[in-house]
Amino acid sequence: MNIRLDPRTKLYMILVVSAVVMMSATTPLLWSVRIIITLVPIVLLIAEKRYASTFRFFALYITALVLTFCFLSEESTGIIQSLLTGYCGIIAQFLPAMITAWYVIRTTKIDEFVSAMQKMHIPDGITISLAVVMRFFPTIKEEYCSIRDAMKMRGITLGGGSIVKMIEYRMIPLLFSCVSIGDELSAAAITKGLGGKVKRTSVAVLKLSAADIMLLSGFTAAAAVFVIFKYFI
């Protein structure tokens, strides 16, 4: 099974999920709406064959829910219990937004995202910068790993006990690398015509499919139900 969603649908999903987690669920109905919309990205992740992360999220979410509902509703004053309640509460409340975000980040290609931004009439400057941000995360990871290796070899991973040095030794080489990569990257991108006056095209075809429309309307309905039952009934 392979569901390819439009990036715009995915962004809408995030919007709805983060709106819903902002409003606390007080009745079983509201809880079930919230759980159902959490299950959507989980199912989508399964369809993407990302079993391990799906399982982790699912287990975490269920544990948090079960703990919140069954065990921690009595007077819990002990430190461990109160901390645990705090975590479970926060997880149960905000994990849905994180799962959705994780799904979107894992399944969206940069050029799809960029062309979705273009379709939504976001200015080019922002689109280009955003594409660079996405491209740079793996670069930072690569550079950071080499720097960490070099630190290990010299035994200065802990900065000789000083937190300032610990940060400085990581940050300075990283910034030197990033700046020089950035300069070369700009030069290469410019010779390939980035930033011209011509309107950029894209081979990423964005079309709302049946699945997109289903999800869009489903999420709209869920949000509507949530708001109506919480504030009006």
Binding site: S73, S76, M98, I126, I128, V133, L175
Partner: protein, 204 residues
Amino acid sequence: MADKKEHTIEKKKLGVRDFITVGIFTAILFVVEFACALLGYLHPIMVAALSVLIPIVGCIPMMLFYTKVEKFGMITIMSILMAIILFVTGMGYLGAPITIISGVVADLIAKSGGYKSFKKTILSNGIFSFWICSNYFPVVVTADSYRKDLIDAGYSAEYCDSLFAFVNYKTIAVLFIVCLACGCLGALIGKAAVKKHFEKAGIV
């Protein structure tokens, strides 16, 4: 004369190189934010401490970024990107207006100093740091109703207080001030680091 005019126009407009610079530093800033936010899992107080940690840890990249800013728009775009990234990573959209407004204001302040004045840069960085507060918005906005729910559900008031003692609609004002102060302090530290390394190495 015509030549000169063209020259200034070209300087005012942002180019690919500027966009790429903004992208790179936004990515670094977000990595800093992400690393610091991981500490937030330890205890709620660490979440509150973000407004100290991020401006201080992120001060070197920010000040290096400021040395590369010469035109209006770069700081603004950075704030818009931060807003988008925070939204996409599930931090909610309520902080977006604050992030972007503080970005524009920071940009205007830096511009008034011609992007050269260090005093203006300090203030600008302080204002820009307000974006960190958008991390708190989901908790702050839900805090009141969340707390009520928890107590209704039988949680002890003691626990709820400890959870929300540091982050709530009252302390958010304090957190804003902390951000501003640490942003300014960070600017001083970052400037020193930039001088120590990047100016000495001759790359800025």
